[in-house]
């Protein structure tokens, strides 16, 4: 299975998706709204990206991108999906119903970036306390007590 | 058959338990196999590995000279801002101003003993010491001045 096949598969239902092959793996860039559709597409046969091995988020100061690293345990093909999320109202559909591992990872991202995952069954702070204010991994986060500027 | 299975099960279980007991019993009757060290008692004979990273030291030779040029490479290499190099300007015999070390401040309480400073030092002025007994009653004593009072840079170190 080559990148071309995946491209073809994705660009059919999602014509606005862009592809980037400069990195190690094929990267698909989409908007947050399209993510759930793409995720379902990728998970289902015959490509069966059944293994979400990394889920994270990057703060680009103007917007967030949530980054999903997917692979298939039978085809061993890895791809990266980057979904662009609005920074002022960060929300994206959850995929914890497709990949259970996303449950914890999404909670972590919610905790540290403040991205809300729609329809997540149990979206609470995972690492920080419930009454913590701010999202530490955002670039504009300031903690005058614990952060030392070098 | 049920009874036979039942009995063989018990026999197997007993045997497996006995194997374990034999092993612990084996060590029980052999006090020579004890591996623990009597730490404060063996302090004199305790030899740490040469490369053991216990603390950052600055070796001085018999003339009270060190090799630090005050280039602050270690300060830049340190991930935790453990090292603060304070420099001053000294006059060389040719009456030129030359940067030299004034104080080498080392915060042992912030040091993670990663050894990056030693790796970065171009003149080999600092080394990792083998001392590991760092406990003190007052944290402020962990801020150390590594260059000895009145020490000078060794001749020929650039």
């Amino acid at each position: 299975m080559t990148n071309e096949v995946i491209k073809e598969l994705v660009s059919g239902p999602l014509p606005s998706a862009t592809f980037d092959e400069s990195g190690e793996w094929l990267t698909i860039q989409i908007d947050a709204a399209q993510w759930k559709q793409l995720a379902t597409l990728l998970y289902n046969a015959p490509y069966h990206f059944d293994y979400l091995f990394c889920l994270t988020c990057v703060d680009w100061k103007t917007h967030f991108t949530t980054v999903y690293h997917l692979t298939s345990t039978c085809h061993r093909q890895a791809i990266v999906v980057k979904a662009k999320v609005d920074r002022n109202d960060p929300q994206i559909e959850t995929v914890s119903d497709i990949w259970k591992t996303a449950d914890f990872h999404e909670r972590e991202v919610f905790d540290l970036f403040g991205v809300r995952f729609i329809n997540h069954s149990d979206l609470r702070r995972l690492i920080l306390t419930e009454d913590f204010e701010g999202y530490p991994l955002r670039k504009d986060f300031e903690d005058p007590v614990n952060m030392i500027k070098l | 058959m049920f009874i036979k299975e039942y009995i063989s099960e018990i026999a197997k279980a007993t045997k497996s338990l006995w194997t374990g007991m034999k092993l612990t019993g084996h060590y029980f009757v052999r006090p020579k196999t004890v591996i623990t060290q009597q730490y404060p008692d063996n302090r004199d004979t305790l030899k740490m590995a040469d490369r053991f990273r216990g603390e950052v030291t600055m070796p001085h030779d018999e003339n009270n000279q060190h090799a630090c040029t005050g280039c602050t490479a270690c300060e830049l290499a340190c991930p935790n801002a453990t090292i603060k190099v304070i420099t001053k300007f000294e006059l060389t015999p040719e009456n030129k101003k030359k940067k030299a070390l004034d104080t080498f401040v080392y915060h042992l309480d912030m040091c993670t003993l990663c050894g990056l400073c030693v790796d970065a030092c171009p003149s080999g002025a600092i080394q990792m010491g083998q001392n590991f007994e760092h406990s003190v009653y007052d944290r402020s004593t962990l801020t150390k001045k590594l260059n000895k009072p009145g020490s000078k840079i060794r001749e020929g170190v650039e």
Partner: protein, 358 residues
């Protein structure tokens, strides 16, 4: 040759000659109280030290070695530390029961001393139903644990107490049945009779394999009844932190801790009496010379030697095996030990009736 029996007799005669019978009784009671407390304190100190040493040597380390030679004063120092600790009662606890529980446990442990024959003729109460008495009293200790677990108002304690209840109650059956095998062979419930019956050989040697099986079952049940690993589910520190005594601190904790060790001593003493001949020296058939040498060793040494051997065995278990799960624990009793010991009892009965034992 001196013996404890002679000493007690002379003391009694000396007292009788000088005082009225009431005063003799009071003074004797005082002596018993002092001796019992001294025994408790000494056993606590020695057994804890011994346990730590045994554990250490099995775990290829030295164990306590700083305080006194081979660290024998370590436990004294620990006791001192526990005395100096504050005995806390949690706010939510049932205050009366919480403070009452250590007393129950201690009283039970103390009462069990009564019928034990420490040496030839050295016994607090030569009760004619000694074995039954022990069965009856020892089952009371679970009440102390249940009270402690319940009164603490702590979930770990409660779960620990519940487990302990099920466990002690279950294992009492097979302990009782293996004790019964000896009763069947001896035909008496009195401790002294049982010891006397082993004059020409200990039951474990004369009773063929069934008695050995009974002995093994007794040791297993004794380990379980004293809440020792691998049956320490009531405390199971990796599951329930400290089980039923989670909330206890200071001397109240020390009493539970002590009671555990005293109970070990007592069950091992009973085991030694029933199966290993109590204070009876080791005799070999017709080797008169050898038997004389054995007789020369004081009976109290024999008794304590055998008891400590069994204690060592139980410690050996503890430092070798992982803990059982709670349902496996009950399975072991109800599916293996109980049927086996019932069957074993029948075998022993047959042996006893046919006089097949030596």
């Amino acid at each position: 040759m001196y013996s404890l029996h002679a000493i007690t007799n002379s003391v009694q005669n000396w007292l009788n000659a000088r005082l009225s019978s009431t005063w003799v009784l009071i003074i004797e009671s005082l002596i018993v109280i002092v001796l019992a407390i001294a025994l408790f304190a000494a056993l606590g100190l020695i057994l804890v030290w011994l346990e730590r040493k045994v554990a250490a040597h099995m775990q290829i380390r030295l164990g306590p070695n700083r305080l006194g030679p081979a660290g024998i004063f370590q436990t004294s120092a620990d006791t001192l530390k526990l005395i100096l600790k504050e005995g806390l009662t949690p706010d939510g606890a049932d205050k009366f029961l919480f403070n009452f529980a250590p007393f129950v446990v201690m009283i039970v442990a103390m009462l069990l001393l009564a019928p034990i024959a420490f040496a030839n003729g050295f016994q607090i109460w030569n009760i004619n139903i000694g074995v039954l008495y022990i069965s009856a009293i020892s089952s009371l200790s679970v009440i102390g644990i249940l009270i402690a677990g319940w009164a603490s108002n702590n979930k770990y304690s409660l779960l620990g107490a519940m487990r302990s209840g099920a466990q002690i109650v279950s294992y009492e059956l097979s302990a009782g049945l293996s004790i019964l095998t000896i009763v069947v062979l001896t035909g008496s419930l009195q401790m002294t009779d049982i010891v006397q019956a082993q004059q020409n050989g200990w039951w474990i040697f004369k009773g063929h394999i069934p008695v050995i099986i009974a002995f093994i079952i007794f040791i297993i049940a004794a380990t379980a009844e004293t809440n020792r690993a691998p049956f320490d589910l009531a405390e199971a520190e990796s599951e329930l932190t400290a089980g039923f005594h989670t909330e206890y601190s200071g001397m109240k904790f020390a009493l539970f801790f002590l009671a555990e060790y005293i109970n070990i001593f007592i069950v091992c003493a009973i085991g030694a009496t029933l199966f290993l001949g109590g204070w009876m020296p080791f005799h070999m058939g017709n080797w008169t010379q050898f038997n004389h040498v054995m007789d020369f060793i004081p009976s109290s040494i024999w008794f304590f030697g055998k008891t400590f051997f069994l204690i060592f065995l139980i410690m050996w278990f503890r430092w070798t095996f992982p803990r059982l799960r709670v349902d496996q624990l009950l399975n072991l009793e109800w599916k293996y030990l109980l049927p086996v010991s019932l069957f074993n009892l029948l075998l022993v009965t047959l042996i006893a009736i046919m006089n097949w034992h030596f």
